[in-house]
């Protein structure tokens, strides 16, 4: 078992780290402390650089033009890409591109022509519509949006909440109940065009996140052609579940990246700031916070890389991904909190990124499946089957 990075991985990590420090961080000096977007000319310039590095569209399969980078290496890159003010939810301000919606690659050829390829070309944007006012942790049971067959169409009625990007999207992947008697086996996934009559963005939902808002949607007799069923009728839950499992690894990597940067700031500040005649770094209370931060960071990192390694090997990784998500999201919050404490009053200001990370990392314990649901998943796997 070799825990060292390969020479290639080391080179890639160094390249991304330099990119963040030399290209991204300087731009943040001129941005609003809560900004999540670059000026268009800066964004285009950085995208060009990323393309030249061969890293654009990391989660796009190679057969669709993406770089052939394994999941462990992508995780290492994601840890680096998060190490700036907006990095938790807008790593490198999106200049590394991406597919966004992994389900698009499971579409049939007609759907790929209408949705996947335009998305990869940047001509269309989609949203993921799963959570409803009735629930999000248990979507299989909570989905109450209905889809009823009517000739060559399905007619959708219902609502979704906490949906990102729906107000600006051209289409969405929406989950609706097509068979009320079958629980999770009665959900179908549809492509929904946002300019279709009956599609409404009713309101913005403001959260702790700085610039990104969620939306509440309503569907009123929204007609969707049968050609827009993604996968099989009543086979939608498997599509949703697969996405949730896979997302947990990069989600965890983002938390680790922010924690690494917060720790770096805390160490620098402790070595420089003096109280009562000596540096903070000489105080045991501060030393133990720094040590506890390092334990949290390394634990999170190794668990997340272990999950990524299993995914690369094609082995089941649901338990490992759930564990990584629990540990990284909770540990990340603790690290940022300790770093704020070490910085004292300055840690509370918008002059530093810590207050933004403090707010935004709290959401990570709930998004992509709350901590309690992750524990449920792990308990089911551990108690119902083998430990190995």
């Amino acid at each position: 078992m070799d825990l060292e990075l390969s020479d290639e991985q080391r080179l890639i990590v160094d390249t991304v780290r330099r990119f963040v420090r030399e290209e991204v961080l300087p731009l943040e000096a001129d941005l609003d402390p809560d900004a999540s977007e670059l000026e268009p000319e800066d964004r285009d310039r950085l995208i060009k650089m990323v393309r030249e590095m061969g890293f654009y569209g990391l989660d796009i399969p190679p057969e669709y033009g993406g770089p052939d980078v394994d999941i462990v290496t992508r995780t290492l890159m994601a840890i680096e890409m998060a190490q700036h003010r907006a990095g938790l939810y807008a790593p490198c301000y999106g200049v590394f591109g991406g597919a966004g919606l992994a389900q698009l690659f499971e579409a049939n050829e007609d759907q790929k022509q209408r949705y996947l390829y335009p998305t990869l070309r940047g001509e269309k944007h989609g949203f993921f519509g799963l959570t409803e006012p009735s629930g999000g942790s248990d979507p299989a049971r909570a989905i109450q949006t209905t889809a009823v067959k009517d000739g060559d169409d399905w007619v959708l009625n219902g609502s979704k909440i906490f949906i990102s990007g729906a107000d600006r999207a051209d289409y969405g992947i929406v989950f609706a109940r097509t068979d009320a008697s079958r629980g999770r086996a009665g959900i179908t996934c549809f492509f929904v065009d946002t300019d279709a009559p009956g599609f409404y963005v009713r309101r913005v939902v403001h959260t702790l996140r700085s610039t990104h808002y969620a939306t509440e949607l309503q569907f009123e007799d929204l007609h969707v052609p049968v050609a827009n069923v993604l996968g099989e009728v009543n086979g939608g839950f498997a599509i949703a579940n697969d996405r949730l499992s896979r997302q947990r690894i990069p989600y965890s990597a983002g938390c680790i990246g922010v924690a690494v940067k917060a720790q770096e700031m805390a160490i620098a500040y402790a070595n420089q700031r003096e109280t009562f005649g000596d540096r903070l770094a000489t105080r045991q209370a501060i030393q133990w916070m720094i040590v506890d931060n390092e334990i949290d960071i390394r634990t999170s990192r190794w668990l997340t890389l272990a999950a990524a390694d299993r995914a690369d090997r094609g082995q089941p990784f649901r338990t490992e991904a759930a564990m990584a998500k629990v540990v990284a999201s909770e540990a990340g919050g603790r690290v940022v909190d300790r770093a704020m404490q070490i910085h004292g009053g300055y840690g509370m200001t918008k002059d530093l990124p810590l207050e933004r990370w403090y707010r935004e990392i709290r959401i990570r314990r709930i998004g992509e499946g709350p901590t309690e649901v992750q524990r449920l998943i792990m308990a089911r796997d551990l108690l119902g089957g083998s430990f190995h």
């Binding site: 609003d32 809560d34 963005v201 913005v204």
Partner: protein, 112 residues
Amino acid sequence: MAIEMTKPWKPLDTGEVRRLPGTTGVYELGDGDGNVLFIGFAGGKSRFGLRGELERHLQAPGAATRCRVEVNTQYLTRYEELLMAYASRHGGLPPMNVERAQHKPRGRLTPG
């Protein structure tokens, strides 16, 4: 919280602006009939928050004679929401926002 700002208008003058808080938030400028002319925000880089932004507008108010503000730490999302709500009702951005050539694509809102 209503989507659109419904607070009563205040005069855009020195006395009123001096009383404003130096916090982050959003604000609207209006004409004498209460029509919204501009939607703006006081963000994290604003030196004197809402008060500072409105003081800046006092120097060149254009057609604006009224103002109203909302203290809000989520100033960027609230700003986007107000612009979208205005566009939904009026078919475009407020005139002074248009003058400032704010070309960033905005989302669509269809409040019930």
